[in-house]
């Protein structure tokens, strides 16, 4: 994992003091509410329904144990003892006091953390595959490039006041786990016919009110051109993106309005000016950053383990967890283990201070001290010896972090909704509970298999409902909460936007409606076919017909 040098540390420390002064001037009445708004947002500070909310950056999904312990300390000292992981792999505190935020930031800086650009109309935290560096299928570890982008984009003087927020994601594997096609810029690390590694560049994807799948702007970009090409895209966007309507200000609207070919032309013209400036990435710099992400010293004898097989055979609950919540590692004898933040009847993505400490301890003891967050709001211990899995599972199970539901319908991605968020049109937590109750049976859950459910409390789509295999959108109709259901969305390599099944349903009918949807799937599926594949094969009609059939 990347370690700060003096330059990094000083920059973050100075940023803390800068924000401390901004907060002081605001509290003293020297800075208007509106001017402070833009400044605090660029530092991850929102003012929410009940209290301010502080969003801390988890750069490209990565955390270490010292950082988790610090986050636990902050949750206890400055908040209500818990925190919340977001779909951008960041972490939010929901109850800090405005005047204490500078102190929180100073604490974060001691463990190389910050909240720079976790909000506001600037370049946000770059996200990637939570399995980067530990799966066999990837072309190359994406994290060094994420770090290079993090540095280039941090406090970029030209791009702090873009028309709207700007998100970049990188994927290097055939299975896209970073939802790159619904980002402002998606980068795919690929190998060309000459065997060189570079980037396919996708631009103009996004969700929100006008969901769109990104379009290819460059089929193969050389590594050395990464920063100059990003800068060219964002400069064209900064100059031309709409500023009259914040709902039409994302780059996707510009790309759509200009057409991808015209947009590409503009970017290439800009790029021609800056390609050979010092934005050109030297190989030595790539190598320097890569050195931080070298594979760990894996234990070769781990492959000889045969204790796991015995444990799997004797403990059914462990076996279930192993099947559902662990993934193959590129090194023989190791396994990737999920830490589920989707407990029964509790908000998705929430974690208590004690759980943060506990995961930190597990990471230190069993996984080289590192933890990753996923864009589905779970955590990952990426390097666990097979022989240690049973011990890890026991600790996780005891702490309520081992629900074996990864990738199933109850592994929902859910925003905080109307209970917490001032923007929401509808509540989400009660509906999530309803779904959890309906699909509680593990046998049923595992029989249904991989089924991505995303629920957002408003059309800002923080929980990416457009790309859930099943998506739920809370809407307000004359003061009542209704829920619109979409089917067929996907944020993976075959990215697609879900289609609305029919009229919205009342809040107490959401789980019943989902049950009908999956009944159709169970009835129509072929052997081994996932929900999304059945949907693509048979289309919307059978679902619609059954769900809205008049009651007898």
């Amino acid at each position: 994992m990347y370690q700060y040098n003096e330059v990094d540390q000083k920059l973050v420390d100075e940023r803390v003091e800068q924000f401390r002064d901004q907060t002081r001037r605001f509290l003293a009445g020297e800075l208007s509410e509106d001017d402070f708004l833009a400044l605090r947002l660029m530092n991850g500070l929102y003012v929410q329904r009940h209290a301010p909310m502080l969003r801390v950056a988890g750069p490209y999904n990565m955390y270490n144990s010292a950082q988790f312990r610090k986050l636990a300390h902050i949750a206890r000292t400055y908040d209500k003892g818990y925190a919340h992981f977001t779909t951008r792999t960041n972490l939010q505190f929901n109850w800090p006091k405005l005047e204490e935020v500078p102190d929180i930031l100073a604490e974060l800086a001691t463990v190389q953390m910050h909240s720079i650009q976790t909000s506001g109309n600037c370049i946000r935290n770059t996200t990637t595959d939570q399995f980067a560096g530990v799966i066999a299928e990837e072309v190359e570890d994406s994290r060094p490039y994420c770090e290079i982008i993090r540095q280039w984009s941090s406090l970029h003087p030209e791009f702090a006041y873009l028309p709207r927020k700007f998100k970049i994601a990188i994927s290097a594997a055939p299975d896209d786990r970073a939802a790159t096609q619904v980002h402002d810029i998606g980068l795919h690390i690929i190998k060309n016919e000459a065997g060189e590694v570079g980037f396919e560049v996708i631009v103009g994807g996004g969700l929100g009110r006008t969901p769109m799948i990104g379009k290819q702007i460059n089929p193969f970009l050389a590594k050395e051109d990464l920063l100059s090409y990003l800068e060219a895209i964002i400069r064209v966007y900064n100059m031309n993106g709409r500023r009259d309507n914040k709902y039409k200000a994302r780059i996707k609207i510009l790309v759509q309005a200009m057409g991808i070919d015209k947009f590409r032309e503009e970017v290439e013209a800009e790029w021609a000016h800056i390609r050979d400036t010092d934005l050109k990435l030297p190989q030595e710099e790539i190598d320097r950053v890569k050195a931080f992400f070298k594979p760990f010293d894996y234990d070769e004898s781990a492959a000889q383990d045969n204790s796991l097989e015995a444990k799997l055979a004797e403990d059914e609950a462990f076996n279930t967890w192993y099947e559902r919540n662990t993934v193959a590692h590129k090194v023989d004898g190791y396994r990737i283990a999920y830490v589920s933040l989707k407990p029964y009847l509790k908000p998705a993505g929430d974690i208590t201070a004690d759980q943060l400490d506990l995961v930190a301890d597990l990471a230190d003891r069993y996984s080289f001290g590192e933890i990753r967050a996923t864009h589905n709001q779970n955590l990952v211990l990426a390097d666990v010896k097979k022989a240690d899995l049973y011990a890890v599972w026991q600790v996780l199970a005891e702490a309520g972090l081992a629900r074996p539901n990864m990738g199933t319908i109850t592994d929902m991605t859910v925003c905080p909704g109307g209970d917490f968020c001032a923007l929401a049109n509808a509540r989400t937590i009660g509906v999530a509970d309803q779904i959890n109750e309906k699909f509680e049976s593990l046998d049923y859950l595992h029989d249904l298999g991989e089924l991505k459910l995303n629920m957002s409390g408003c059309m800002n789509a923080c929980s990416h409902h457009h790309v859930g295999h099943i998506g739920i959108l809370g809407v307000d109709k004359k003061g009542e909460e209704w829920y619109q259901i979409t089917l067929g969305g996907d944020d993976g390599s075959d990215a697609a936007l879900g289609k609305v099944i029919g009229r919205a349903v009342a809040s107490d009918q959401v789980a019943n409606t989902l049950e009908k949807v999956v009944e159709v799937y169970v009835e129509k599926r072929l052997e081994g076919e996932r929900f999304i594949d059945t949907f693509h094969r048979i289309g919307m009609a059978p679902f619609k017909e059954y769900v809205y059939a008049p009651a007898n």
Partner: protein
């Protein structure tokens, strides 16, 4: 209105022109649209003539005529409108050597960014100006990326 050049308050010899004071003498700054409307008059003006532009103006037209103007003022119509930062970089890249002045809703917390993007002068309203604003330039002592300010990218330092 206070004017900052080289991080210091300096005397401002320029007057901003609008429809009301078209006959102003001395050094003047003229909004691009007004300049185009009364081109002959301004070309015959006895003092220096600078131009004022914003993100809605046709930048190419300005870039093609840079040698005519000893000063280009880039207006920030609103705090959140960041087009001016890119405009300044375009001017620097085009080799412009005159004064690049930020006007409008500039905001103390953006001074350092403005300087890094190539602005050589920042004009602040009387109500907004306080002497401690000058500290804004030195709050951050290093940067990751190069911009118009000749600081090399961190990996080339």
């Amino acid at each position: 209105m206070p004017l900052l050049i080289n991080r210091e308050v300096v005397e401002d010899s320029w007057t901003l022109i609008d429809e009301e004071n078209l006959q102003q003498t001395g050094d003047i700054i003229v909004p691009l649209a007004l300049y185009n409307e009364h081109k002959a008059q301004f070309e015959a003006h006895s003092g220096q003539v600078g131009i004022k532009i914003n993100g809605d103006d046709n930048l190419d037209e300005v870039l093609e005529n840079l040698d005519k103007f000893p000063l280009v003022a880039v207006d920030f119509p609103a705090f959140r409108d960041g087009r001016g930062f890119s405009i300044a970089r375009h001017l620097v890249r085009a080799g412009y050597k005159g004064e690049i002045r930020a006007t409008g809703d500039v905001g103390r917390d953006r001074f350092a960014y403005m300087e890094r993007c190539g602005f050589t002068a920042i004009q602040i309203s009387d109500e907004e100006f306080t002497p401690d604003m000058l500290n804004a330039f030195t709050e951050m002592s290093n940067y990751y990326q190069s911009a118009a300010d000749n600081i090399r990218a961190v990996y080339k330092q």
